[in-house]
């Protein structure tokens, strides 16, 4: 689905276009003020001045200034603050949208949603009797129960403390696995993007810089994400072995084995690993007598001077995936690293998502 929107407000101009995947989570990522929330509001029809194009599930939502009113769009919207109706109980908040969708159009089950989001014990409470995390769960359930063709989420975790975030993320991940609908997830948290996103749309100053599969966009040396202090690469792999004695789990990434702290996952499960650029060092020879557990055979794809003086950023090819490494310019010179070289990546820390 092609999405394109323009909006002028004061001296800020939004002019953004991207492809929306039919399924999975498309994260719209950028600094605050880059226009990502405005873009989401345009998609929801909440910006009457917007012009653009959006067609969802065969229905034209926007064509130039022709705009389908928000209440006629089959969307779910989760605001940054839960925005529950203060005068209604949780149950009546959930029923608000549910009642307004014709029974023949309901694809999301009431019972399933209430159970999935753990809402059953909250049904009789009022919003002001809920914690931030609980409120956001209700807001999510309320949006889902309208059986949307498109789910829009505007930094749903940004206003929560880290405990509430940790409480909600598993629900979001579960949704990610079970929902067959496109989700646009606006965020400025790299951690959320690493855990949830399939596609990544990178925005800056009202424009889309680039878009693509999240692992690809994160490691593009010509894009700002790779140059961030906490730049990370994303590896996908399959759990292949458990070593109970050493409390380690083997994950196979494109034919190479990676050991991580023991995971409570069955063999065959797909997992996401994230690796910080600063945790990857490079060696010309395989590191046989080193404490670093993971030594992967990779090929140098590209090198680029880092923003930090005296450092270079290197993209390393591992099968079809890419790792990032940040090393000093001196090391690069001493090892005479060039694009195309076969080297070994020594990976110190790996986080599992």
């Amino acid at each position: 689905m092609k999405v394109r929107f323009q909006l002028k407000r004061g001296d800020f101009t939004l002019d953004a276009a991207f492809d929306l995947a039919e399924q999975g989570i498309t994260a719209v990522f950028g600094r605050s003020g880059c226009g990502k929330t405005s873009l989401l509001r345009c998609m929801a029809g909440l910006e009457p001045e917007a012009r653009g194009q959006l067609e969802v599930a065969g229905v034209v939502w926007q064509a130039d200034s022709q705009c389908l009113p928000t209440h006629r769009r089959a969307l779910g919207y989760v605001f940054q603050e839960a925005s529950l109706f203060a005068h209604l109980t949780v149950e009546r908040n959930l029923r608000y949208g549910w009642r307004r969708v014709a029974p023949s159009h309901r694809r999301v089950e009431w019972q399933t949603t209430v159970e999935l989001l753990g809402l059953a014990p909250l049904l009789n409470r009022y919003p002001d009797q809920l914690s931030g995390g609980q409120r956001q769960r209700v807001a999510l359930g309320r949006a889902l129960l309208t059986s949307p063709d498109l789910l829009l989420m505007d930094e749903p975790l940004a206003s929560l403390d880290s405990d509430s975030k940790a409480e909600i993320l598993p629900y979001l991940e579960q949704l990610h696995r079970t929902l067959a609908l496109p989700v646009v997830y606006v965020s400025h948290s790299q951690d959320e993007v690493l855990r949830l996103a399939d596609q990544l749309v990178l925005m800056d100053d009202g424009r889309v810089l680039t878009q693509g599969p999240v692992a690809r966009v994160l490691t593009r040396l010509d894009m700002p994400l790779a140059h961030q202090q906490g730049a990370q690469a994303l590896l996908e792999g399959v759990v292949t072995r458990q070593d109970d004695a050493d409390h380690l789990t083997e994950v196979e990434c494109d034919g190479q084995s990676v050991w991580v702290s023991q995971l409570n996952q069955a063999c065959g499960t797909r997992v996401r690993l994230s690796v910080s650029a600063r945790d990857v060092t490079i060696s010309r020879v395989p590191a046989t007598d080193s404490s670093v557990l993971n030594c992967l055979a990779v090929q140098i794809e590209a090198l680029e001077a880092d923003l930090q003086p005296g450092h270079v950023l290197i993209a390393l090819r591992l099968g079809n995936q890419t790792l990032l490494s940040r090393i000093t310019e001196r090391s690069r010179r001493l090892l005479a690293l060039q694009p195309g070289d076969q080297v070994y990546a020594l990976v110190k820390g790996i986080a599992v998502h």
Partner: protein
């Protein structure tokens, strides 16, 4: 005929007062919703001008408002004259004239609480309702009304009580025609003029008790409403 120590004519004046207060308040509430909504959310520069106009009855002497309305609604006024020319009667010294006068006089008492309530509600609950498939009228009934009912209650009480105590505007437009334009406050004035202090006492006491019980009921209700008011 005297009932409960008050003459029949005074009862009629009292009933007329209540009828006037009720009709003008209900009409005001309906008409002021769009105006207050516009004032709460418009980015227009005209807002300041309209706000000042709406607040004008707060500071103008009632006789000034009454005087202008009398001219406007009278047989040679812009409105009264127009009515006469199409075969209707002008509105000076009529109940309809009183209703219009009360509405002008109580306008700020309805607009301001509503505007405040709409402003503190904000647009977010409406946006949320729209994303949940509620159309504009649906949103007003199921979100705006329940969340701003304290504002509506305040507006109703202020306007109603204010109209009960109105004197200057009504005397100017309505005069003192018993059964048509003679309201309680004017009847009291007439009694005092005629040195009939007993009758003035009776009617005054009824108004005092009425106003006090009205406010008491509202404050008691407000304690309950506060639980689900706009304030988070």
């Amino acid at each position: 005929m005297v009932i409960a120590g008050i003459a029949e004519a005074d009862w009629i004046a009292l009933l007329l007062t209540l009828r006037l207060a009720l009709i003008s308040t209900v009409l005001l509430l309906v008409l002021c919703v769009p105006l207050a909504w516009w004032l709460a959310f418009t980015p227009s520069r005209a807002k300041v001008l309209i706000e000042a106009l709406v607040a004008l009855p707060l500071v103008l002497p009632p006789t000034v408002i009454g005087f202008y309305l009398l001219i406007l609604l009278g047989p040679r006024g812009a409105i009264g004259g127009a009515l006469e020319s199409i075969g209707l009667t002008h509105l000076a010294f009529s109940f309809t004239g009183l209703v219009i006068g009360s509405m002008v006089y109580s306008l700020p008492f309805v607009v301001q609480p509503l505007q405040n309530a709409f402003q503190s509600l904000g647009t977010r609950p409406l946006e949320a309702a729209a994303t949940l498939r509620a159309g504009p009228f649906d949103r007003f009934l199921t979100v705006v009304l329940p969340l701003t009912r304290r504002g509506f209650l305040t507006a109703f009480v202020l306007s109603f009580a204010h109209t009960l105590g109105e004197f200057g505007v009504l005397l100017m437009i309505g005069g003192s025609i018993p059964g048509q334009t003679q309201v309680a406050s004017i009847a009291i004035y007439n009694h005092v003029e005629a040195l009939d202090y007993g009758a003035a006492h009776g009617l005054s006491l009824v108004l005092l008790v009425l106003a006090f019980s009205l406010l008491l009921a509202v404050y008691a209700l407000n304690r309950r409403f506060r639980l689900v008011g706009v304030a988070q």
